[in-house]
C-alpha cells in the first residue's frame, strides 16, 4: 500500500475515529463511584496523621515506632526525577491519607455484616465477595476453580473470603492490619526486609502511612489450595491509597496471587503508592499477577491515578522461584519495577509485562534482576505499546554479581507504536561481573505491521478490531503467562485501552 493510499484509508475512518475518541470516556468501565458515607483523617501529612492511622488500625507500639521512623526518614528524601514521566508537582499536604467507609468503623465479623453498598460495589466490578467459585465473566471450566479475595476499599480491607478453608490448609490470608495484630511474630520478622524502610521515596512514604493491604503466609510444603487475590478500589476523592502486601512462601510451598485495581473517573489526579514484599524460601514458588487498571485520566490527560509502586521478591532459599506477570493498562503515570533478588543458588526469576499507554498516559516500568546466587536464571519479556500521545518506557536492570557463577539472563523487550505522536523508550542497565554467566538483551521498536492490518481489514474487520488483534498477537508471550482468570480480562483490556487510538 502506498503512502498516499494509506492516507486516504486513514481519512476514510476519521469519522469513526472521532466517534471512538468521544466514546473513550465511556471506555473506562470502572469510572463510576460508590456513594457511601466516608470517614476521613484530616488532610495532610504529619506525625499526628501517622499516629492516627496506626491507632485506627489498633496497632501495637512497635508498629507505630516503625511508621514514625519511616516518616522521619521520608522527610529527608527527595522525590526521584530520573523516570521519563512528567507530572505536576504533588502537594503531599493536599490529600487525605486515610479514608474508610463509615460502616467499617466496627470491623464486620463476617462478610454477611458488610455494608450491602460495598458488596454491591465489588459485585459491579465483577469481584465475588460471596464465597462463590469464580470471578464473574469467566466461563466455568470443567474443574471448579476457587479464588479467595481480599477486598481493599480506599484505606481499609472490607473482607477476605475463604479464610476458613485456607486455614485448614494452614495458609494465612488476611488483611495486613489483621496480621499485625494476630501474627505479629511473622509480620515483625519479615516486614521491611525485602523493601527496606528507606528503599526509595515512595516506599518510605508507604512505610509511614500504609493503611491496609494483604498478608499471606504459606507454611512449608503446602500448595495453596486456591488462587489468592486482592482487589484494590480507590473510591474517595483526594485520597491517596497506600497499601502494603506481604507474602511469605515457606519451604517447598506454592502460591499464585492475583491483584486487580480500579478507581473512579475524576478530574483531579490521585496518588497510589503501594509496596509489595515477597519472601520465598527453599524450593518454594510464587506467581504474582497484576492487572493494573486504575483510571488513566481523560484524553487530555486530566485526572487519573499516579501509580508509584515498589514490588520486590526475595528468593532467599535455594531453588526458589518467582514469576511476575503484569498487564499495565491504567494510571495516568506509572512508575513501577517489580524486581527479583535471586539470592538462593539455582533460584529463578521471571518477569512478563504488557504496558499499554494511550492518550496522555505515561508509563515508566520494567524490572530488576539481581543475581547473587550461583546458577540463577532470569527471563524478562516486556511488551510496550504506545498510542495517542502517550510515552512508554521500559527501564530495567540485570546485574550479575561476581559470585553468581553460571547464571543466565535473557531479556526481550519490544515496543509497538500506534500513531506518530507517541513515544517508546528502552533504558536497560546490564552489569556483568563474572564470565561464567551469559546475558542476552534484545529490543526492537516498530509500528503495527501494515500487512497484518491489511490482511485483517480485507477479511472484514474494523480497523480498531484489527489493531486489537495484531496487538494481542504482539502480547501473546505475556498473555500466556497469566493465570486463566486474568488472561481473559487482559485480552479484553488490550482492546479497550487502545480504543480511539487508530487514525
Amino acid at each position: 500500500m502506498s503512502q498516499v493510499d494509506e492516507m486516504i484509508a486513514k481519512d476514510g475512518v476519521e469519522e469513526e475515529t472521532v466517534e471512538a475518541v468521544k466514546s473513550l470516556a465511556g471506555a473506562y468501565k470502572y469510572g463510576w463511584n460508590t456513594d457511601i458515607e466516608m470517614e476521613y483523617a484530616p488532610k495532610g501529612l504529619s506525625t499526628d496523621i501517622v499516629r492516627l492511622i496506626s491507632s485506627k488500625n489498633d496497632e501495637p507500639e512497635w508498629m507505630l515506632e516503625w511508621r514514625l521512623a519511616a516518616y522521619e526518614r521520608w522527610l529527608k528524601l527527595t522525590e526521584p526525577d530520573w523516570a521519563m514521566v512528567d507530572y505536576p508537582e504533588i502537594d503531599f499536604q493536599d490529600q487525605y491519607y486515610y479514608a474508610r467507609p463509615k460502616s467499617m468503623e466496627v470491623k464486620p465479623k463476617s462478610l454477611d455484616e458488610v455494608d450491602p453498598k460495598l458488596l454491591e460495589t465489588y459485585k459491579k466490578l465483577g469481584i465475588p465477595l460471596k464465597e462463590q467459585a469464580l470471578l464473574a465473566g469467566v466461563e466455568a471450566p470443567e474443574e471448579e476453580r476457587k479464588v479467595a479475595v481480599d477486598a481493599v476499599f480506599d484505606s481499609v480491607s472490607v473482607g477476605t473470603t475463604f479464610k476458613d478453608e485456607l486455614a485448614k490448609a494452614g495458609v494465612i490470608f488476611c488483611s495486613i492490619s489483621e496480621a499485625i495484630k494476630e501474627h505479629p511474630e511473622l509480620v515483625r520478622k519479615y516486614l521491611g526486609t525485602v523493601v527496606p524502610v528507606s528503599d526509595n521515596y515512595y516506599a518510605t512514604l508507604n512505610s509511614a502511612v500504609f493503611s491496609d493491604g494483604s498478608f499471606v503466609y504459606v507454611p512449608p510444603g503446602v500448595r495453596c489450595p486456591m488462587e489468592l487475590s486482592t482487589y484494590f478500589r480507590i473510591n474517595a476523592e483526594n485520597t491517596g491509597q497506600f497499601e502494603r502486601t506481604l507474602i511469605i512462601c515457606d519451604k517447598e510451598a506454592y502460591v499464585s496471587y492475583l491483584e486487580g485495581c480500579t478507581a473512579p473517573q475524576r478530574d483531579i489526579a490521585q496518588l497510589h503508592a503501594a509496596v509489595v514484599e515477597i519472601v520465598i524460601m527453599e524450593d518454594a514458588e510464587v506467581k504474582y499477577s497484576t492487572v493494573q487498571n486504575w483510571y488513566p485520566g481523560d484524553e487530555d490527560g486530566k485526572g487519573g491515578i499516579y501509580n508509584f509502586v515498589t514490588k520486590r521478591a526475595d528468593c532467599r532459599g535455594d531453588r526458589a522461584k518467582v514469576m511476575w506477570t503484569q498487564v499495565e493498562t491504567g494510571s495516568a503515570v506509572t512508575w513501577k519495577y517489580p524486581s527479583c533478588i535471586l539470592r538462593g543458588d539455582d533460584s529463578q526469576g521471571e518477569f512478563y509485562s504488557i504496558a499499554i499507554a494511550n492518550n496522555m498516559q505515561q508509563a515508566d516500568t520494567g524490572t530488576k534482576m539481581v543475581h547473587l546466587g550461583k546458577n540463577t536464571k532470569s527471563r524478562i519479556v516486556s511488551k510496550g505499546i504506545s498510542a495517542g500521545k502517550a510515552q512508554n518506557t521500559y527501564r530495567g536492570l540485570v546485574s550479575m554479581h561476581p559470585k553468581a557463577k553460571n547464571s543466565r539472563n535473557y531479556t526481550q523487550c519490544d515496543s509497538l507504536l500506534i500513531g506518530d505522536k507517541c513515544g517508546a523508550h528502552t533504558v536497560p542497565y546490564i552489569e556483568v561481573r563474572n564470565n561464567s554467566s551469559r546475558v542476552e538483551h534484545e529490543a526492537t521498536t516498530s509500528k503495527v505491521d501494515d500487512d497484518q492490518l491489511f490482511y485483517c481489514r480485507q477479511r472484514g474487520m474494523g480497523e480498531e478490531e484489527a489493531v486489537a488483534l495484531v496487538v494481542n498477537g504482539f502480547c501473546k508471550d505475556v498473555l500466556q503467562a497469566l493465570p486463566m482468570e486474568f488472561a481473559m480480562e487482559a485480552q479484553a483490556l488490550v482492546a479497550i485501552s487502545l480504543e480511539g487510538s487508530v487514525g
Binding site: 507517541c422 528502552t426 546490564i430 556483568v432 546475558v439 538483551h441 534484545e442 521498536t445 516498530s446
Partner: protein, 424 residues
C-alpha cells in the same frame, strides 16, 4: 542533574590566548562549563566510569610506552602526516599542510584570522551536543584547547590525513580540538593514532554538507598508563555519510564519546569500536545518535574482549525525534569475558518519538564458547592460538565496519600481532 559547581573545584581555569573570535568562543565555553560544573561519579552519565582523574587539576603521570618493536601504525599507507608531541603540533615531524581538495591549518592560526570559516563551527557542534545530556569535559576542552587542526575539505581529498599523537613527557596534559568541515560532495578520510599524552582531552567537530563523505579510523595504542577522554561531534546533512571506527588496546582509562546529529534526509552514520583490555583497564564507549530527518540509517557496533580484571562500558543511545520517519537504527554491544575478574557494564538505550521506524538493539555478555574452543583444540590448534582465533572472530563484525579494505587489513594484522604478544 547538576554536577559539582565549578567553584568547589580546586582548579582555576585559564583560557589560552586566541584572536577575537577564539577568545569569545573560549569564554562562551567556559560559561557553559561553569553552568554545568565538572562531572563526578554521582552523575548518571558517569555511573560506570569515574571521571575524577580526568577532571583533576593535574594529570596522573604516565610512563612512556616503548612501541618501537613494531612499525608505526598506518606506516604503509600514503597519507598527509600531522604530528603532535604531547599535545603540541610539531612542524618538523609533520608534512607540509598542502593537499588538493583540502585546506589545513593549525587551530591557533585559524583563530588569529578575524574572518574564518571555523569561527561558526568551533564549539558550536559541541554546544548542540550538550543537550539533552551534558558533556562538561567537552566544554572544558573548547574553553582550554591549546592546539589542534582545522580542516576544510572542498572536494575529494587527494589522500588521507593521518594525525599521529606522540607521548614523550610523563606528565603531559594535552587538550586538543579539531574542527573539520566538509563542503557538499566533499570526501575526506582522517586517521588518528597514538597515546598523545599522560592525559588527553580531545574534541573533534565534524560538519558534513550534502552528500559529503567522512571516514574516520582511530587507534589508541598499547601503552598502559595513559588516560583519555575524547568526543566526536558530527552533524550530517542530506545524503551525507559518516563512518568511524576506533581500536583500543589498553590504557588505564578511556572514555570515547561520539555524538551524532542527523539533520538531513537519507544520511547514514556508522560508529564502531573494538577494544582489547588486559588488567588495569577501563574502557567506556558512549554514543548518542539523534535522528532528526527522514529515511536515515545509523549503526553502532561495539565489541570488547576483557581479561585480568579489565572493565568495559557501553552507553549507547538512539534518539528518534518526531517526524524522523523511516529511520533504521541498529545497535549492538557485546563483551567477551576471558576470565572471572573482568566485567562489562552496558546501558543500551532507545528513545523513539516516530512510529514508522525499525530500531533494535542487542547486548550480550559471556565467556568464550567452550565447544568452539574444543573444536579447534581437537584439530591440533594450540590453546592460546585457538583462543586468539575465537577472539578475532568475535571482533570481526566490528572490524567489518571499516569500508576501506587496506585500512581494515591494517587494523586486522595489528590486532593479530597484539594478540600474539598478549599470549606469549
Amino acid at each position: 542533574m547538576p554536577a559539582t559547581a565549578l567553584t568547589e573545584l580546586d582548579r582555576e581555569i585559564t583560557l589560552p590566548a586566541a584572536g577575537v573570535w577564539g577568545t569569545k568562543s573560549r569564554k562562551d565555553a567556559l560559561a557553559r562549563l561553569t553552568a554545568m560544573g565538572l562531572p563526578n561519579h554521582r552523575d548518571e552519565y558517569w555511573k560506570y566510569t569515574r571521571p575524577e582523574t580526568l577532571t583533576s587539576a593535574t594529570p596522573t603521570p604516565a610512563a612512556i610506552f616503548d612501541g618501537n618493536d613494531e612499525a608505526p601504525m598506518f606506516d604503509a599507507i600514503d597519507c598527509l602526516q600531522i604530528t603532535f608531541i604531547d599535545g603540541v603540533f610539531d612542524a618538523d615531524a609533520s608534512d607540509d599542510l598542502e593537499m588538493a581538495g583540502v585546506s589545513i591549518e593549525r587551530l591557533a592560526t585559524a583563530m588569529e584570522n578575524d574572518i574564518h570559516w571555523a569561527k561558526d563551527l568551533y564549539g558550536t557542534l559541541e554546544t548542540n551536543g550538550q543537550n539533552p545530556v551534558q558533556r562538561p569535559l567537552a566544554a572544558l576542552n573548547s574553553a582550554t584547547a591549546t592546539d589542534g587542526v582545522v580542516i576544510h575539505a572542498t572536494g575529494q581529498a587527494a589522500k588521507p590525513v593521518l594525525i599521529r599523537y606522540l607521548h614523550q613527557n610523563e606528565t603531559s596534559d594535552a587538550v586538543l580540538h579539531h574542527v573539520i568541515k566538509l563542503d557538499d560532495g566533499a570526501a575526506l578520510t582522517v586517521l588518528e593514532t597514538g597515546p598523545a599524552a599522560a592525559r588527553l582531552n580531545k574534541v573533534m567537530e565534524v560538519d558534513q554538507g550534502n552528500e559529503a563523505r567522512f571516514n574516520h579510523v582511530c587507534t589508541q595504542g598499547r601503552d598502559h598508563a595513559r588516560r583519555a577522554v575524547t568526543h566526536i561531534f558530527a552533524r550530517l546533512a542530506t545524503e551525507s555519510r559518516f563512518k568511524s571506527f576506533t581500536l583500543t588496546a589498553n590504557g588505564v582509562l578511556t572514555r570515547n564519546e561520539c555524538i551524532i546529529e542527523i539533520t538531513g534526509d537519507d544520511a547514514f552514520a556508522h560508529v564502531a569500536g573494538a577494544a582489547l583490555g588486559d588488567g588495569d583497564f577501563h574502557h567506556d564507549d558512549t554514543v548518542f545518535i539523534t535522528h532528526d530527518a527522514v529515511n536515515c540509517e545509523s549503526r553502532q557496533v561495539f565489541k570488547k574482549v576483557l581479561r585480568n580484571g579489565a572493565t568495559g562500558v557501553f552507553q549507547g543511545k538512539i534518539l528518534v525525534q518526531p517526524d524522523a520517519q523511516k529511520t533504521d537504527g541498529y545497535q549492538i554491544s557485546q563483551a567477551l569475558l576471558l576470565d572471572d575478574d573482568s566485567q562489562f557494564l552496558a546501558k543500551p538505550e532507545l528513545e523513539i518519538y516516530a512510529d514508522d521506524v525499525a530500531c533494535s538493539h542487542g547486548s550480550t555478555t559471556g565467556a568464550i564458547d567452550e565447544t568452539a574452543l574444543f573444536y579447534l583444540r581437537s584439530r591440533g590448534v594450540e590453546k592460546d592460538e585457538a583462543q586468539d582465533l575465537l577472539v578475532l572472530s568475535f571482533l570481526a563484525e566490528a572490524i567489518g565496519e571499516i569500508e576501506d579494505e587496506v585500512l581494515a587489513d591494517e587494523i586486522q594484522s595489528r590486532l593479530e600481532s597484539w594478540l600474539k604478544r598478549h599470549s606469549s
